[in-house]
Symmetry: C2
Subunit: 215 residues, 2 copies
C-alpha cells in the first residue's frame, strides 16, 4: 500500500480555474479539467451512472478506484458550506450516495461526529495531515490512501513527506489563473522517478514515485 | 513554419529554481532541469563538445535544432550583465561561438547595434515581442521561430497569441520555488491539442499545438 496523490491539472498547473465561487465551484473553465474522466464508463459507474466510453483513460480511472482503500480530503473538498459545524452540521456536497465507496477522512479545525452515508463514512480529523493519513492507512487495509485534494491538503502531505506516488492527469488547457496544485512547498527539492506515461487526445497521465529530496 | 516554445520545466512548473543569482544562474537545483539534454550527443555537438548519449531524448534535441531557423530571447537570457548598454556593451554569456548557429533576436528596452559572433548574429529589438517574432520569422526562412525564454518572454508571446506550438521537457523534480514558466497569462483560457508524448527515465516530452482560446 502507498499514499498517493492523483489529480487533474491544466498544463499550467491549476486544479481549479480563476474566480472560484458559487457560480463556478471549480473556477472558470475548471470543470474542463475533468472532461477526460467524466466521459469514461468507469467514472460514470462509480457515480451511479450508466454508459460512457472505455479505453486507456477509463482504465486509469478504474485502476485508481480499485487501488484506493481510503481517501483524505480538505474541508473545502468535503463541502464549502457553513462552518464551523452548528447544531445541524453541513453534510457536504457529496449527497446521500457519495462516489467513494470507502472511508473518507476530512481535515478540519472543528471537531464533529462521523457522518455516515451509503458506502462511505466521513470522519473528521482535527490534528493535522499526518494523523489523517495514519487513520486512513489503518482503514485502507492493504489498499492505498488517496490524498484527493484540495491543493492545500496535497501541499501539506507533500511538505510532510507523506506521499509515495503522484499521478497527474494533465488536461490540454492553460487556465491562466486559479488554484495551483504545487505551491507553498517550501525550499526543499523533491526527486521523482517517472514510472508511466499514458497519452490520449483528451489528457496525459504522468505517474511518478517520490524517491528522495535534498539540495 | 511555426512559432514554438520548447523549454525544460520541473513537474511543479519552474524553469529556474529558488534564489537565482551569481552562485546559481538557474537557481538552486535549476541546472538539474537540463540534465536530460546536456548528456545527449545532439546537445553536446551543438555546443562544440564530443561524446554523449544517443536515444529518444537526443532525437528530441536534434529535432528542435533542425527545425529552428531563428531564436527570440529576453534580455536576461542573452546575458544578465551590466546594462543599459554603455560604450563597451556587455556581450552576453554565450561566448564567441554561441550554440545557436542561426540569428537571435533579443528583447530589450535599450537600442544597440547587432552583435556578430561565430555563426550567430544577435539583433536587439526595442519595439516588443510581436516585432521580435516578426523579424525572426523573416530571418528563419521556411524554418521555425523558437521563443526560447526566459519565462517573461514566453509569457509575452503566449499572451499576444504569437505561439503555435508548445513543447515542455518535464524533469522529474519538484523545485518548490523559483521562476514559473506559466504566470501572468491573464484570465483567458488557451486550448491545446496534445500531439506527442515521449517519456524516458530522465524526462517526459509533452508536445501541444495551440488550437484556440476563450471561456
Amino acid at each position: 500500500m502507498a499514499t498517493r496523490v492523483d489529480i487533474s491539472t491544466s498544463l499550467d498547473g491549476y486544479v481549479a480555474g480563476p474566480n472560484v465561487g458559487p457560480d463556478h465551484p471549480l473556477g472558470e473553465g475548471g470543470e474542463r479539467l475533468h472532461d477526460w474522466a467524466v466521459g469514461s464508463a468507469s467514472w460514470r459507474e462509480s457515480h451511479g451512472l450508466e454508459g460512457g466510453e472505455t479505453g486507456p483513460d477509463g482504465d486509469v480511472v478504474e485502476e485508481g478506484i480499485a487501488r484506493t482503500g481510503a481517501t483524505v480530503m480538505g474541508r473545502g473538498m468535503f463541502g464549502g458550506g457553513p462552518g464551523p459545524w452548528g447544531d445541524q452540521p453541513w453534510e457536504g456536497w457529496w449527497g446521500d450516495e457519495p462516489p467513494f465507496h470507502h472511508p473518507v477522512f476530512v481535515l478540519t479545525h472543528h471537531a464533529r461526529e462521523p457522518l455516515e452515508k451509503e458506502g462511505t463514512t466521513f470522519t473528521f480529523v482535527t490534528d493535522g495531515i499526518a494523523a489523517a493519513v495514519e487513520q486512513a492507512a489503518a482503514a485502507a487495509g492493504d489498499k492505498d490512501v488517496l490524498v484527493a485534494g484540495g491543493a492545500d491538503a496535497i501541499q501539506q502531505a507533500l511538505a510532510a513527506r507523506l506521499v509515495d506516488e503522484i499521478q497527474l492527469h494533465v488536461a490540454p488547457l492553460l487556465l491562466g489563473g486559479g488554484i495551483r496544485l504545487f505551491d507553498q512547498l517550501g525550499p526543499e527539492l523533491v526527486e521523482l522517478e517517472p514510472t508511466r506515461v499514458i497519452g490520449s487526445d483528451a489528457v496525459t497521465h504522468l505517474k511518478y514515485t517520490i524517491t528522495g529530496g535534498t539540495r
